[in-house]
Amino acid sequence: MILLRLTARSLWHRRTTALLTLLTIGVSVMLLLGVEKVRTETRTSFANTLSGTDLIVGARSGQIQLLLYSIFRMGDATSNISWQSYQLVAKHRQVAWTVPISLGDSHKGYRVLGTNQDYFKHYKYGNRIPLSFEQGRQFDALYDVVLGADVAEKLGYKLGSKVVVAHGIGNASFSKHEDKPFTVVGILERTGTPVDQTLHLSLEALEAIHIDWKAGVRIPGTNVSAEEAAKMQLQPKQITAFLVGVKSKVATFHLQRSINNYRKEPMLAILPGVALQQLWDMVGIAEKALMLVSALVVVAGLVGMLTVILTSLNERRRELAILRSVGARAWQILLLLTLESALLTLLGVGFGILLLYLGILLAQPVLASQIGVFIPLSALTFYQWQLLGVVVVCGTLTGLIPGYRAYRYSVADGMTIRV
């Protein structure tokens, strides 16, 4: 006990260097925990985005790509699929429900998703939680729009607000569908998924705003007014992708096979769970590299501590000699130095945890709005505690090195020090 007090006092005496060491270890520990936390939370966030959907069908591209653009609104579709093919699958005897998805437009950087009312019935997230409305209702009229929670909050829209949809998916667009404004009729409850950053409108509405865009741009003089467009034939001819729920789970594979083998149009059906797992396999390499880097930063932090203690050792030879003279054994000197590094590491780890939570608190809103990953202020996981345990053990073991030196000094030096 007296040794611990001695250690603490001694450290306090050298508080500037001790504090800097603490900072180094703290930052490295924060990095280690942060990387692990972001990794697990991203996975959870991704996995929670879609639930209860058996197949996602889109134009033939790659499994991961289809998953990313249809569900996570990342990247773009390579091609659309025809309405006929969609109807064919939708009427298949094994199919219980389908939800069409049409992407490609945006509003102030938020993606616009064209769909139908089935979306609100069948789209589920988390553990099969359906979407619910914070305010208002689903779209019924042609120029109705339903907002995700973030869109409404960030852009300050309320029920009844007018929204103009822009062509393309940039943050700003110079070709807007300003002649056909939409009215907000519903705002969805927050889900923690990309749905929060999406504006939902009907497939017919998407068709309507593109009526006079047949040439890829609105040709002057051929404008169709909002009222005229509403009267026209608005049957969509193509969609980007659709979600499928099957009647019997075991039929999933066979339905997938039939869709993939459909001769008249190249389509791709994927099992969301499998595509997500493949995504993790790919991302796994980067994750491992990040973990390695943060582990090395911890090592660097500990080496820094070692340097500080070793350099201080020469200055402290007299202190140690005095300790010896008042009755400290040589092994107690060793213990003293080991305790010092253990204490430093322990405090550093504590400081690191503090920094981590502070960091999460600060980064939370940015991460949520930028990449759609919400990182909760949750308790450390068992694995994270294990990581910390390893750090503390390593730090303590590091202390054995200066400890051993001090031990040798104190045996050899006695009271006469020749530095």
């Binding site: 697990t40 991203t42 996975r43 959870t44 966030s45 991704f46 996995a47 929670n48 639930s51 209860g52 058996d54 005897r93 094994q94 553990n127 099969r128 009647k247 019997s248 789970k249 075991v250 039929a251 999933t252 594979f253 066979h254 339905l255 997938q256 096979r257 039939s258 993939n260 083998n261 001769r263 099992l271 769970g273 499998v274 997500l276 797992q277 493949q278 396999d281 796994g284 994750e287 491992k288 973990m291 582990a295 090592v299 070692l306 694995y383 294990q386 390893v390 053990v393 390593c394 073991l397 590091t398 054995l400 090195i401 051993y404 030196r405």
Partner: protein, 215 residues
Amino acid sequence: MKVLIRTLFLWLAVFCFIPVVQAEETQATDQKSEPKTEQEAFNGEVVNELDWEELMPKNFTLESILGDLDSPDTLDDLDPAATQYMDQLMAALASAPVVPEMGGKMVKIPGFVVPVQGDGINVTEFFLVPYFGACIHVPPPPSNQIIYVRFEPGTKVENLYDAIWVTGKLAIETTAHELASSGYSLEAFVIEPYEMEYEDEAAETEAGAEGTPAQ
């Protein structure tokens, strides 16, 4: 210099230590909250080790489900008749007959995981299939070779290429629609990694498992 060498050795020891901790952690979580079971019994019930073949009725042959059709060997891939043949085959395979006696049995069966529902770390619902992967040369296994597994605590799937053992209660689920096709489902109690029988192959999978990150 001496100190430097000693330091080096120490760090070497530390680095050897980290993988050991991780490996232990992986093992610990694999068997997390699962009681150690005897091979033969679980909760006082007899566990039968099941072969995938046993899930097919004895008289389940291509002829029995398709009737007499021309041999598909003579058909070209892009022949309309081939397409028709494939469609029929697919329809038949999608509602393959099950063995009713299997319902309610306590079984242990090896297979591969096709995840359906999970939270990103643990998979709680998945398909168990006898072979891995989207082999695009042939149709997927018939519906009586696919088991829908629910596992409440969830299992970690680090690699779709790794086989597992699943122990649990088998049930036959019949979905009520015009086809009245039925399939197997399984309430899993224990999930264990599948160990290869050959030593060198076992070593290979071990090495593979170490390469994957511990959660």
